[in-house]
Amino acid sequence: MAASGKDDVFTPWTDSGATPLIRIDQVTKRFGDFTAIDNVSLDIYPQEFFALLGPSGCGKTTLMRMLGGFETPSSGVISIDGQDMSSVPPNKRAVNMMFQSYALFPHLSVWDNIAFGLRRDGLDKDRVAARVEEMLKLVQLSQFAKRKPHQISGGQRQRVALARSLAKAPKLLLLDEPLGALDKKLRQETQFELMDIQEKTGTTFVIVTHDQEEAMTVASRVAVMNHGQLIQVETPEVIYEQPNSIYVADFIGDVNLIEGTVSALGEGAELAWAEGRTPLIGQPGAALTKGQGATFAIRPEKIAISADEPQDRRNRVQGKILDIGYLGNLSTYHVELPEGPVVKCEIGNRSRIERRDFTWEDEVWLSWSDTAGLVLAR
């Protein structure tokens, strides 16, 4: 999301002339009988902040470790900057990794940890010192240089790990669940710091995470993975608004899923979902045919709630409030439809709670626009 909203939007993946930094070409990785990565092809461009997102065991870490050189593909080719990486060991790659456990060397000070990689390159003392100071300043840890890793906080350790992996100015930085060990507040702050640093250094970042909010916040593109395959690779906005499958819609954010059959296909798709009800209208997903079983996906925050029947909207259903979840900034209403499904609907709490319009057991109308929902093939 480096420059979204401006004219010069950063979207090298739409530019056919752009050369990718990383080219993953039909890569498969097997561990014994288990296929961790199943024929994945993916291009990642310079200066991207690319997120690999998926549940644990989906293969995202394996894919990252192959980029770092810690695993070798069973088949397929990974090239970085045009060079085939299959026979290049980790210590010979212009790639650095920030480990999930941070992997700071406990016997070395913060300073020596950051200097570690530079010294291996045989840089002279002054240049090592200058670079370490620069890195310490970047992560705002100058006053902790002399401390050992066990003498600083978790958040500081995370920043030392980041500084250490950036010190050698790699072409590509891999981040394995970099914020996983931090508490929520610190994690959110650090996300923005990460983005700042990524922009400042111009390094290509590939981040592995199972936290969809984190991926959405930091990444220019997100790859949603499952069972060793890429399900969708797109910008956070598209992933959220135009998920290509029920899996992606369900994995990213909250979603209501209503099953039915496609009754009409035109500008929008109509989904017959219950006997004697007007069909739901939404944007058609890919590979949809009339009469096919499909699922209607609608985000809770796109649904409006009202006491009276909204005549101006074609998508409207009536139901009874089953539950109200109060989250402070917003409330989640669980509305049970007479046909069975429970629809979640999120409303911002613009006014104070005493003035809430609806309460438990109220009969209410839910409505949403023709383009708010998606009809996805099952």
């Binding site: 770092g68 810690f70 060991p89 980790p90 210590n91 790639v95 650095n96 990794m97 480990f99 999930q100 456990s101 992997a103 700071l104 060397f105 406990p106 016997h107 570690f116 990689g117 291996r120 390159d121 050992k148 066990h150 250490r164 992996s165 050698k168």
Partner: protein, 295 residues
Amino acid sequence: MKRLLIGVPFVWLFVLFLVPFGIVLKISLSDIDLAIPPYTPTLEVSDGWAGVAAFFSALDLENYIFLTSDDLYWKAYLSSLQIASISTFLTLLVGFPIAYAMARAAEEWRPALLMLVILPFWTSFLIRVYAWIGILSTEGFLNQFLLWTGVISEPLTILNTNTAVYIGIVYTYLPFMILPIYATLEKMDASLLEAAEDLGCSRMQAFWLITLPLARPGVVAGCFLVFIPTLGEFVIPSLLGGSDTLMIGKVLWEEFFNNRDWPVASAVAIILLLILIIPIILFQRNQQINKEAQQ
């Protein structure tokens, strides 16, 4: 309740260490005598204060002065230090690779490997040392095997030399070296080595720069655990060593049981203890530093 809990180890130390130490110290200050026990003076409480005064006035440092007059003793101390140092080093050379291999073995194998290291303790120490006599003697298994393979044409003399003593010590104390090193290597985060490689180290460099420094506490602990008991070792040198193997433990034994000179033997023991205090304090300090580093 709290005092009781703290008191228990103190009582333990008092009864099992301080009292015996006091007795040995007292004997070392006494004179040899043909009696039972074979030294004077003994405390005559029936004589009252006069007896106590006579008792203390009879104690002197004569035996310690005697230790300096005969060069057997300081040579034995030096020789013991030398043998203990060399065998500690040899044990480290053998023990470290074993501990390293164990820590690197698949997780499901580690308990079994650990068991194999500890298993010899299930038989008597004495029997295991005797078994080495059977292996190392001129007609022993080792010589028979070497003769059979044709590596040598004359049997080697290993038994009753310092070589046999080193073999015996390394064999006996190997677990004390392996276990602490294994403990430090085993809890080492494998991603540290990956990080080192990632930052440009070869495997070999990563070993020197990361694995070894992190294993240091275990190595130091292991060395002390081998060095301290080896210094006073007497069973191995008397069973496997020759007449020229000079170790203070052996000298001590001979003073006690062959010469029946309890006072001199006690003086030898007290000096040995004083020598050992230095490495023991260093060992404790090492353990303390490790504990602090872990917090």
